[in-house]
Amino acid sequence: MPKPHDRGSWPTDEPIDRDEHPHADWELRVHALHQVLGRKGLRRTDELRRAIESLDSDTYQSLSYYERWTAALEILVVEKGILSTEEIDQKMADLASVGR
């Protein structure tokens, strides 16, 4: 079996769902963050692709498009030593407690 991102000619008769969802603010922000890091030379399109393609099959297929971009963003900033997973966990917890 090819890796899950390598979609060409996967056997499927699933009709193409042509509904388009309006983009949420966070989705656009993730897109923008990738672009900003790209302009600073901190991320290339090929790296985004490679990070997305490194997701395991279940994760890849269960995540939405910008969820994959978020997972890839984390992989890249951690890999480059810009942020650590622990810092991100902590920040998430902090933001959640502020929101309560």
Binding site: D17, R29, V36, Y65
Partner: protein, 215 residues
């Protein structure tokens, strides 16, 4: 498996604010990048506006210009980056290459990105959800005529179908056939016939007749 996905639980929706796990994760990453001075909120805001500023109207303007100006069309097909610069589109700022492919009575082009979602965003904005869907990415190469029929386009048997698989480095824009009965139209009127979908190749450009009946 990657470190980021090892041993974490990923609940879908957080009960408190209705935001998903990944939306909150993204918010945390952005907050940290800003706090560390890697980027500013202003830069993110500006990039958001730039992403939103592009739309298929840009591609439609290019196509309509190619329909009325044969010299431009030749330049667009042979060397698109400088040709697009004539209209004010600066693709040279990225390393991405673009190829413009012409649909004719002999050959019809259909664009897909089987691996992800590569797309000529400078001219079309962000890709539609279906372009990124697993179904389109799988089927566009296996059964392009069937896919186009789903979009309402029946490509005649004698017309050759070429499917172009985009990459991170090379994107494609389809130059659709100019519809019949448009000889008297202005460039601006022509641009209204050029839909996003016909520049991907899943449909033809609108005909003035179908425009009138849908109005």
């Amino acid at each position: 498996m990657t470190e980021a996905h090892d041993g974490h639980q990923h609940p879908g929706i957080d009960g408190d604010d209705g935001q998903t796990y990944y939306a909150r994760r993204a918010q945390a990453i952005e907050a940290l990048l800003v706090a560390k001075g890697i980027c500013t909120t202003g830069e993110v805001q500006l990039a958001m506006e730039q992403v939103e500023a592009r739309s298929p109207a840009d591609g439609a303007r290019v196509v309509a210009h190619a329909w009325v100006d044969a010299g431009f069309k030749t330049r667009l097909l042979s060397d698109p980056i400088p040709a697009l610069a004539e209209l004010g589109y600066a693709l040279a700022e990225t390393t991405t290459q673009l190829e413009v492919v012409e649909n004719t009575d002999e050959v019809h082009h259909l664009v897909v990105c089987t691996l992800c979602s590569c797309y000529p965003s400078t001219l079309l904005g962000r890709p539609p959800d279906w372009y990124k869907s697993l179904a389109y990415r799988s089927r566009a190469v296996a059964d392009p005529r069937g896919v186009m029929r789903e979009f309402g386009l029946n490509v005649a048997e004698e017309v050759k179908v070429r499917v172009l698989d985009s990459t991170a480095d090379l994107r494609y824009l389809v130059l659709p056939r100019r519809p019949a009965g448009t000889e008297g139209l202005s460039e601006e009127e022509l641009a209204k016939l050029v839909t996003r979908d016909c520049m991907i190749g899943v449909t033809d450009a609108l005909s003035p007749v179908s425009m009138a009946s849908s109005a």
